[in-house]
């Protein structure tokens, strides 16, 4: 498999792998958002979808590990690329006008990415690990109707809502460059389709994070009702 090692060890191969994992995460974000959005419209639908996702063995033991591997791969490869890129310029410019030729988002993917990683760490400790303990360690009896109340209760805390809001702003910045960049890294560029990909990317990077923020803010302000 030397060709495989050589291909994915090359600068183009690494970026291709980065782009593939990015597209996988973009699809995951949309799926996660659709389930979360149902909490705004229907307690029953949200509970049944959450129960399915939380108990279905294929989701839990096949898809969930793939997702975790995908996330870890994306940020580890991101760090590797960042280190290699930093090493490619040992002496910095005394004066550099990065803003004259490129966007802030494109130059700071590592920082927006690090903030998203911080949020993922928070989300794991705050939600995922307690869920795992609840289901597989303490082994509570299965309650298919617990999800809605638990989710709404989580957004009672304004600090949590603040962290969610800020994190999704960083996600928007990350996606603004990342969405179309993933296609370029895979060589998918065409005078007919690229303008459309860029428009879809712009819309995705604003609408998806905005809806995540909306869900958190909505549940926060409708607590007392």
């Amino acid at each position: 498999m030397s060709w495989f090692k050589e291909t994915f060890g090359s600068s183009i191969g690494r970026k291709f792998a980065m782009a593939l994992s990015a597209l996988f995460l973009i699809i995951f974000l949309l799926q996660h958002l659709i389930i979360n959005l149902t909490s705004v419209f229907s307690e029953e639908t949200f509970n049944s979808l959450s129960h399915f996702m939380g108990t279905n063995p294929v989701v839990q033991f096949a898809l969930q590990p793939v997702l975790i591997i995908g996330v870890i791969f994306h940020f580890v490869m991101g760090f590797i690329l960042e280190i290699r890129n930093k090493n490619a310029r040992e002496v910095k410019y005394a004066k550099n006008e990065g803003g004259a030729n490129s966007s802030w988002m494109s130059r700071n993917m590592i920082w927006s990415g690090l903030f998203i990683l911080f949020f993922l760490g928070f989300h794991f400790a705050d939600f995922w690990i307690p869920e795992i303990i609840h289901k597989y360690i303490e082994v509570h009896p299965d309650d298919p109707n617990r999800y809605y109340a638990e989710t709404v209760h989580m957004f009672e805390n304004p600090i949590r809502v603040g962290i969610y809001t800020l994190s999704f702003v960083f996600l928007a910045l990350h996606l603004k460059h990342g969405f179309q960049s993933a296609f370029q890294s895979m060589g998918a560029r065409h005078s007919k389709y690229t303008p459309m990909i860029k428009k879809i990317g712009d819309a995705y990077s604003i609408v998806v994070p905005a809806l995540y923020i909306f869900i958190a803010v909505y549940h926060h302000f409708t607590q007392a009702i």
Partner: protein, 257 residues
Amino acid sequence: MSTANGLNLTLKVWRQKNNKDKGKLESYQVTDISPDSSFLEMMDILNEQLIDEGQDPVAFDHDCREGICGTCSMYINGEAHGPGRGITTCQLHMREFKNGDTIYIEPWRAKAFPVLKDLVVDRSGFDRIMAAGGFISVNTSGNTQDANNIPIPKLEADKAFDAATCIGCGACVASCKNASAMLFVSAKVSQFALLPQGRPEAAERVQNMVKQMDEEGFGNCSNTGACEVECPKGISLENIARMNREYLSASFKAEEA
């Protein structure tokens, strides 16, 4: 004797004795610079002044001084070839600056472009990338055949020509936050890949050139687009996407030797 429009400027110039020296920015004053003079002429005036004062003149690369050779470099006020678009340093004029300005003049910064002296860097990494595959292995002179034997769509011919206008100056590497050479290499890959004469060796060519590019220590492409903006010849990012396609399809499809 000073003129009405003459510019008085402070120059912060990178001075470095040789490859081993640490180097630092030195300040110089130049006075009464004509706005009509080119940036390199201003550098000539500075050097005359330094020679008169018994100091070592600033070493910088230059050759044709008409924007076609790709020799002049210089990172001026934070941009490759200075402010202005689609120009090399020799095409930059002093009218772009105001009286009293401070101008930073630095060499291309990249691990793969080591500084030799002052503003002169070693760009032979580009030559080694070209030697790894930037050619076609057939004799093209003396046995030219009729052009109608190998019809090429106009659009493809134009794209190949546009890619071939790359002068290998290295502004793409200097501008890229990762010191990536992807724009240069992709232009060279594209100019051959787009034409029938280049196709037989296309897979081998892109693999060898990318391998050499990585060995030279250039960074990865983050698709910021800075290279395309700063390129004096307007080489398009489309070439990078084409090289990615060429490389990936070559890697996945080529038989193992």
